[in-house]
Amino acid sequence: MSDVLKVPTMAEFMATGKQPEVLFWVGCAGSFDDRARKITKAFVRLLNKAKVEFAVLGTEESCTGDPAKRSGNEFLFQMQAVTNIEVLNAYEVKKIVTACPHCFNTLKNEYPSLGGDYAVMHHTQFLKSLLEEGRLSIEGGKFKGKRITFHDPCYLGRANDVYEAPRDLIQKLDAELVEMKNCRKKGLCCGAGGAQMFKDAEKGDKEINIERTEQAMEVTPEIIATGCPFCNTMMTDGVKNKAEGQIEVMDVAELIANANDL
């Protein structure tokens, strides 16, 4: 791949007495999950290319508490939240970008009343703003004419009404954006939310990710794009089951990075 990634930490910034432009909240999946780490790195390459002065918390980052809260463990959630807020406030963080819609939602909506008030952006929104400011450009060549469908992550779409930023990015690739019958407000869940990612599904006659993959297959895409590490896992599993080798599952950040040969 490309040369060494520049990933400064908040602690390093602090030592030089500077503030980064934005904090990149990597999230647990982005830090530990093999597939999601590739998304993290693709996003960092784009940040490096656009010369964004960003920092990560590194080993000072901890789970936002989202899966605990959605499971019903409010205590654990608030313990995590308060701990994270202490760290973030100590570094005087003002702006956060994250590639995980679950972290995005929790940081944006549930941290403020616990004392953590930040401007929080999803990475697709942030990338879009980089394009608009002319700090990043997209070469469409690689994906020109490719059929790409976008799977709306629930915690980005319905939960926070972000539908257009990821689509705008895909369209900049000169790709053919095709919509599934259930998209945007009506997007079907991948099956991972509400802490389902960490448990087996209840008894039923089908897995949700298979249902969603079948919906995607109806529009015969070459690529299923998404903006969530958990959706990515679920859709990748679904594709393995139903359309191995025919469809690729990629994060929007990976698409942009790929197009730029990063």
């Binding site: 080993t59 789970c63 019903g72 409010e74 608030q78 313990m79 308060v82 616990l114 448990k199 209840e202």
Partner: protein, 430 residues
């Protein structure tokens, strides 16, 4: 004896309205059993939501067929009710078509009512076919067997009969027909009654129509049909936050702050234990907040939520509609318990959790908000599911095993998986 009909009318009217008012006050008392929740913020947005979603039916038309038919019935219901005002005045004072004095406008008015009545009639028949012949899936789910199915049909029969009576009443009103103004629909039915005692038929239809309306009004309380009234407050009090926001329990915040505060004396006796609730989460209806209880009464069991639910679509037991129906049915049971025990609730050994809603249903939810988005009148089944999960986890430690593992991972190493926090940045060097 001359005033006997007026007297009978007045008695019927005031009994009907009085009985309804009594039930509404019961309904209000039941809703007030819920916990308090602050809804005083964002009044502008709340009014806008009510105007757009309830009055303007904006979310109904997302399903165009049902949506447009529903608007027909809704507009018909609201507009034709102007006629009820005339019927009440006529009934109380022994007049006949008191508003006809306004001249040609009266014909326009009644003509409009007749057209709407005919449209409502047709729409309701299509609704009946959708439920009973086409058997649209969302009306066939397991929670719709028995009373809920009958309830749905009874409401349709009520409307068919009421609209029919309205047209018959006009068709047999010789005087009204002779003006030949406003009888747009009824003129075609008038010849059918030639040779019969039209005056008698007109009186019977008139009385049955008003009695039917009063019976229907009182039927509301016992049916799923309360949405015609409650949709308005429900859309007003519905959430004005992003759907992804789940409330932070204040009692927990206080506890967590105490735990995190290094200056606090751990052995000090806290005097203000009032802030700590007797229960975290919800196991019964009294643990929910009043907006959630209002939601339950407002639900008209259309099933749009359930048909959008990913868990339900893939054969799991969870149905958001059933969550709302169960909450309402339990609330009614609790209310009846209070009535029979002279104003106090006597524990009946039952609760919402377990006796109505099972753990299996609760754990099938992906919290995707599809149900909340689908509801045409701002009902939030997800908040009830979460509140009950809170009870299961914080009061009963009854989470599925894998979730307990996930949570202890977060507690111990700050991630849902068993990885060391010190390895968080390792991806950099992959």
């Amino acid at each position: 004896m001359e005033f006997l009909p007026n007297l009978i009318f007045a008695i019927l009217l005031f009994t009907g309205i009085g009985f309804f008012a009594r039930n509404i006050s019961k309904l209000k008392r039941n809703i007030d059993l819920g916990k308090d929740v602050d809804t005083s913020d964002q009044t502008k947005i709340r009014w806008k939501n009510m105007a757009r979603i309830a009055l303007g039916q904006s979310k109904m038309v997302r399903r165009p067929i049902a949506g447009i038919l529903h608007i027909v019935v809704y507009v018909g219901f609201v507009v034709i009710n102007i006629e009820v005002l005339e019927i009440i005045i006529d009934g109380l004072f022994g007049t006949h078509r008191i508003f006809s004095g306004i001249g040609s406008l009266y014909g326009v008015l009644i003509g409009t009512f007749e057209i709407l009545a005919a449209l409502v009639f047709v729409a309701v028949i299509i609704f009946w076919f959708r439920r009973n012949v086409v058997k649209i899936q969302r009306f066939m789910k397991s929670e719709m067997k028995g009373w809920p199915k009958l309830d749905g049909n009874l409401i349709l029969y009520f409307e068919i009969v009421l609209m029919g009576l309205f047209i018959i009443m006009n068709a047999t009103d010789v005087e009204f027909q002779s003006t030949n103004s406003g009888n747009i629909i009824s003129q075609f039915f008038a010849p059918m009654f030639e040779g019969y005692n039209v005056h008698l038929i007109e009186r019977v239809a008139w009385w049955m129509h008003i009695v039917g309306i009063l019976v229907f009004l009182n039927y509301l309380y016992y049916s799923k049909h309360l949405h015609i009234l409650l949709a308005f407050p429900n859309t007003y009090y519905g959430s004005v936050k992003p759907k992804g926001y789940f409330n932070n329990l204040e009692a927990v915040t206080n506890e967590v702050k105490l735990m995190m505060d290094p200056n606090i004396d751990p052995f000090a006796t806290t005097e203000e234990d009032a802030s700590i609730p007797d229960k975290f989460g919800a196991s019964d209806v009294q643990d929910l907040n009043w907006v959630q209880l209002l939601n339950a009464y407002t639900c008209t069991e259309c099933g749009r939520c359930t048909s959008e639910c990913p868990a339900n679509q893939t054969g799991k037991k969870l149905s958001p509609r059933k969550i709302m129906m169960d909450t309402r049915d339990r609330l009614v049971e609790v209310g009846n318990n209070i009535d029979t025990n002279k104003g106090v609730f006597v524990p009946d050994g039952k609760q919402l959790l377990g006796d109505y809603i099972t753990n299996e249903e609760l754990w099938a939810c992906t919290s995707c908000n599809a149900c909340v988005e689908a509801c045409p009148i701002s009902i939030d089944p997800l908040s009830i599911i979460l509140e009950m999960r809170r009870y299961l986890v914080m009061e009963q430690s009854a989470a599925p095993m894998e979730l307990n593992t996930m949570m202890s991972n977060i507690e111990n190493n700050g991630a849902p998986w068993p990885y060391n926090q010190m390895d968080r940045l390792n991806w950099k060097n992959d």
